[in-house]
Symmetry: C2
Amino acid sequence: MIRINLELARYIKKLYGANEHDISEEKFSPKHKIIEQDRRYSKVYFITEGITKCYISDENGKEFIQEFLGEGMEFGELEVFSKKHTICSVETITQLKTLSISHTCFNALLETDNHFNRLIMKALADKIRYKAPRHSYQHSYPIEDNVIRLKKIFPEFTEVISKKDIANYIGVTTRSLNRALKELKEKTDQL
Amino acid sequence: MIRINLELARYIKKLYGANEHDISEEKFSPKHKIIEQDRRYSKVYFITEGITKCYISDENGKEFIQEFLGEGMEFGELEVFSKKHTICSVETITQLKTLSISHTCFNALLETDNHFNRLIMKALADKIRYKAPRHSYQHSYPIEDNVIRLKKIFPEFTEVISKKDIANYIGVTTRSLNRALKELKEKTDQL
DNA sequence: TTTTCAATGGGACAAATGTCCTTTTTAGTG
DNA sequence: CACTAAAAAGGACATTTGTCCCATTGAAAA
């Protein structure tokens, strides 16, 4: 549910240690919007600490959360390859620390650093791999099953992430999520 | 709706022309399953002609279509980066021609051919970019709106792709799709 | 041509989810 | 500590979508 990539985190920290002027550290407080949908930016971010949500909002203001990003996850990288606007907003949930790098340097690294190139390639592939079954599951199963599934992979999810965000992640209304949680609780209490 | 990547198609054909022994051409007839979910393969395919569907099926046999792939789209590449099982099945819809290449050669190309590396990177990024808004839209809007949207981007979709596949692409039952199509027709007939 | 089977279309009802509101709880602020 | 605003919980009802059928059509096979 909260995606991480420790291998990438380790490597970007190592680069930061060796080559401080290309990579810079930034800190953000909770609920801070780092990237806004449909804009242009010229930096790629790597999370070293904390959690963000990455979401699309439509004209009615509905948010649909794509991913929760944790340590080692990158964002802002898609726009390096296809020079278009961002498709997602990224907003911090907890305090956040990032290492960031300009598009120019990112490109340079991709060309000169084979290992870096491979890590980014793998990170992209993993994003695709991860999304497919998730959306498939969400469509095919009732809300309750989705909640059970979340509980399994991340038992304390209700403590860290707000109900609204969880609902937007599953793609349902808060009302429906509450209903599912209540029914689930009643069922487990009976036992 | 049917994704293509002409730039990649052009380049892989060019490579095929120059270096025939690493890349081989294959032909498949309609409804042929080229790749099956949860298996291992050692080839990457590039479509040069025809259409396939790429889908996940669950334990109840429900199919959820991730993408329809057309000219220039690749499949089987995700497993090069994370050496796991396939997450999708890929099945031809029309006759299909592909150029395929072994994992080993694919990796070699990525390392030695900068342009190829960049094209693959971009192809991965585009797959991510494309998926996000699509799933968001499908969750947020009723079936009818989704059908209207498909009509806009691919007017003759009902002729090429079966109702069942369209329904599995939108993530609804055939019954619901038919209902939506009927209501849509009634509305437009009134005008 | 007849037969067969899959694809399509749709009726009737059930179940899941959304909408609209109101109440309760919680956390933060003056 | 009291006050306020946001988050959470849930009642009542409407709407959407699914399930379970069966009828029709069309195309491929015998």
